[in-house]
Symmetry: C2
Subunit: 704 residues, 2 copies
Amino acid sequence: MSLSNPDITLAWLSFGAGIISLIVAFLFLKSVLKEDMGTPRMKELSDAIFEGAMAFLNRQYKTLAPIVVIIFIVLFFVPVELFTHGDPEAAAQVQGLAGKLALPVSFLVGAVASAFAGYAGMVSTTKSNARTTNAARTGIRKALTISFRGGAVMGLSVAGLGLAGVSGLYLAFKIPAVINSFAFGASAVALFARIGGGIYTKAADVGADLVGKVEAGIPEDDPRNPAVIADNVGDNVGDTAGMGADLFESYAATTIAAMVIGGSVLKEAGLQMQGILFPLLIGAIGIIASIIATSFVRMSSEDANPQTALNMGLWGTNIITAIAGFFLAKALFGDIGTGIFVGIVAGLLTNVAIGYITELYTSYHKRPAQEIAEASETGAATNLIKGLAVGLKSTVYPIFVIVLAIWASYFFAETGLEGLGIYGIAMAAMGMLSTAGMVVAIDSFGPVADNAGGIAEMAELGPEVRKNTDKLDAVGNTTAAVAKGFAIGSAALTALALFTAYAESAGLAETGIDILNPIVIIGLFLGATVPFLVASFAMEAVGKAAFEMIAEVRRQFREIPGIMEGTGKPDYASCVDISTRAAIKQMVAPGLVAIGTPVVVGFLLGPLALGAVLAGGTASGVLMALFMANAGGAWDNAKKYIETGKLGGKGSEAHKAAVVGDTVGDPFKDTAGPAMNPLIKVMGTISLILAPVVANYNVFGGLF
Amino acid sequence: MSLSNPDITLAWLSFGAGIISLIVAFLFLKSVLKEDMGTPRMKELSDAIFEGAMAFLNRQYKTLAPIVVIIFIVLFFVPVELFTHGDPEAAAQVQGLAGKLALPVSFLVGAVASAFAGYAGMVSTTKSNARTTNAARTGIRKALTISFRGGAVMGLSVAGLGLAGVSGLYLAFKIPAVINSFAFGASAVALFARIGGGIYTKAADVGADLVGKVEAGIPEDDPRNPAVIADNVGDNVGDTAGMGADLFESYAATTIAAMVIGGSVLKEAGLQMQGILFPLLIGAIGIIASIIATSFVRMSSEDANPQTALNMGLWGTNIITAIAGFFLAKALFGDIGTGIFVGIVAGLLTNVAIGYITELYTSYHKRPAQEIAEASETGAATNLIKGLAVGLKSTVYPIFVIVLAIWASYFFAETGLEGLGIYGIAMAAMGMLSTAGMVVAIDSFGPVADNAGGIAEMAELGPEVRKNTDKLDAVGNTTAAVAKGFAIGSAALTALALFTAYAESAGLAETGIDILNPIVIIGLFLGATVPFLVASFAMEAVGKAAFEMIAEVRRQFREIPGIMEGTGKPDYASCVDISTRAAIKQMVAPGLVAIGTPVVVGFLLGPLALGAVLAGGTASGVLMALFMANAGGAWDNAKKYIETGKLGGKGSEAHKAAVVGDTVGDPFKDTAGPAMNPLIKVMGTISLILAPVVANYNVFGGLF
């Protein structure tokens, strides 16, 4: 498995594409920072949001640092030779101190890169919000450009760091299974970022809404609401940093898993190096396509639809990636390249299809959300029953899409070459994720637009500005649905790729993982239970944190004189602090469950049970993610539907019932639901690390 | 596989035990009917409930008749030789018309027996309610005896029909895999009974509560409420008929699956007939133990705790079964009998443990329900968030128990003889279900006591009578929790036994069902989705039916003069009719999804995918069943906790919030949750029927 010169050149090419992505991200950031922030009040608000977000990230990463250090040390003592699978040439690569450092260093780079992506995105989105508001004072075109560029900084950072990281570490350590600990580092951080960010944002949101909107009767984003800054910070730490870390993890894990699988299944055909390098090159294509397509995102006039501009960016990326991917696959693999290419297309189409289905079940232009709104007329209970029913049902079509993608990507690759099918599935994941640069850009645009609206409201800029930002915000809600579907779909495919790579690495590929073996059934049951437990932790955390937040907002309304008249200044910082503390404290337990389960099962019950945990956890995790995300989205939009004046409109009994549904849906869709993605991935990456270890050392595995 | 004379004697013995059980049930019914029904008003109310229940059952079975006939005809054309697996001796058994009739006749007997068990239970519980009320006028001791005997009729009918049915058909057709269509008949009927009954009871309950209690402010079971009879009928068709059909199905399916597995894994050891007959004999032991233990259910004095009396019955049954089971296992199997016996004990203990855990998460004497009550103080949204969190978390320990039972029962049997492990797991299921006679008796006692209280209220008998019935009702709530845990746990183990038997019958036992095969992953995903879809149907059905019921009750309050003053008579029949029509109409779609999925997957994707559907469906179905049952139970008791005067008591804001949670929990715990049990079992029984067929005929299975 030595690298020839052309191989090294290709890996450097891919590394270069990652670096280019980071440079373009930096240029976008500079171009955004050149813009004017508007009035002093706007600057003040933007700074408050920026500082709140930074304070949270700093505390979060400071809390994670000891965990990262502990894992770093543990990995130092994991014998790296286990990952060379008896290949003497590979074993030679990891001798001495450099070899000993391969696992822990890759892990550390992954963790730091994930944190860096979080900071980069957070800086750019919080620095873009007031500038977008200011641009919106003169028109929507420029506002779109600024907010999209703000998002693109995040998107291109995520993809660029992912690709450069994997390529660079591969050039350094040469063995895909070893540098997988890069993905483990990324996923450990992503898990906590998702859960912590999710708790933060919903504690602030629920607190701000229940006391501010419902009890005090003041509008959304009103500066008199003490939780308003925390709420705006939450949009960033939840939607931007959380989603970014989540997709960074998917990106890293999928690329490496695909390399592991490619190196294994294409060995006999003499195409091992091609199999390893192809995922990196598809990543490079996707990044270049994303960069090119950012130039498509522009509105032809002030009256144009901003949605169309974003769609152009997304479709442009998909089409360029597909075309270039076809030629690359044919060039590297010849005849069997067609089957591999089908996998990439299946991945790209899965993204589009799940986004569309998500829209179908959650948009208030469609029946499901409207039916929830109608059920609100007989009270909160019927609203909730209907919403739960919609969420449960919404899992069916996305599962069909995922299953079809698995089938097609496997079938066509397998038809080309026996044993290649699982590489086809990994390519579906890779195809989907290669467009992450653009998808994250479009997703991060949403919170910028949302914040921009908030600043317009808080700075009292007048309705014409708000109209422009509202238009962008509405588009942001749709793109958020697309991104959510993307995150879930890609997590599912990533988890499957990790599962397959795990089996290869644990030496289970030949014997198989037979569900008729009771230890496998046991693993399946245990794995399927983990998402339920983690979701429960997440829901409870929001409940507790919101409880504190409600008490604090009530206290301020009661104790600060003149707060309702606008003469007394609310204490924003204390609300920011409550959300921060709660999120940091409550993210630890579910995180440890996620990381601990594979470790305990692996060492206690052995590699077969651990494989089954991954399979059961993935199936159950994906279903729960879809259920919770879509139920929450549908409740949210059922409420918005009533707020458009239907069924009695705002303030009616139906509206009050819909607000209850929306509040229940908040932690569903923004805390527990999104936590499922990093959960199933972190279980996969840690299992892939443990694979050769638990295959040799476990307590009960030999009995079955 | 011919039956020697001693074998035939043993099968007849087991058949005889079933018949004895039916005779004892009949004697109990006669002894109940001898009692006095009390005042004419009490008789009138009891008759109304009886008639409503009968009307529902008649309509339900009439609706199912064509489905049963269609399946009967289809089964007639399934080549029965496929089930003899090339065994010439077995093939000789099923020649000619008698052979052709084996599958359809077994199916029909199963369907009819299930319906008969439903009728028997319904007659006995609805005939016992007023008699229990009347006895409660003089004391609680006799009231307990009558209500328990009413329940015991149901319990002994279920177990007796199950055992006599399986033994009788086995004597007639000799091949366990063939008479499995008895279990299929039972499960098809149970599926519809559970879903239909669940929709009925909750449509009536939600309707009666939301309009009667919340809007009109009249108490529970008030005769002025037009939905009050429908509500009482619902308690019977949901809790008694539904639960009875559910456990009858588990009983039949487990016994047959254990026979199939025993006949296969003990063949080489020369213990094939013992393996086949042992499940029947354990069933016989359990029935005799249940009959003996009914005599333990008595209160020593008027002040004794009725719970203790029921516990005596349950523990008596468990202990007698365990002791007799030990000697039987040793007698039939010698040394390896110990391992098999461990399986039985594991099953008995699983029952006890899951009942205890259910109690822990749902009783209002424990923290989880109390915390939900406390969360109600900040409104319905926080009550719901907390309740969902409790439900999600409550899945963990029961899964641990089930997993431990699988592990222990497999391990000890496998240690005794290689390959025997899966028989051990089947014995865990069988051990658990052997006590069904007593468990169903104790469960059915609950609705009798509940109805008795209702009649006391409606007949205005005064508080001292109500106090006695309330005491029994409170015990009934606890036993209902135990029975719910029993139903879920036994469904899980039954489904696993069916899954194993399916694999044997489809010829997958040697090749295995490898999760690394994409078609298996696809099956796993699809199977795990089915419970979500069926739960969604169930929730929506209740939503729709409750909507109609609310409109009708409101209409009657508005249009019938003097209804609130007690001078105008409400139209009970129209409410009964709404529940009936809605239940019948809405039960069809989810039922067809459950039956259709294995058929479509089997013929389209082949036997591996179908096996995976069973595994995925079982894991996901059990988790959803636990989640929904426990969340619903906890919401219910959180409300009751507040009603004891805590946190402001009845009428407080916290109480109003808790009522919303309880209403959402109703279809969770009594419709969607219980539907999961027959769902996973019916998928298993139909797959077991299809096994040899789809192994030979399918579209895409060969590709993987």
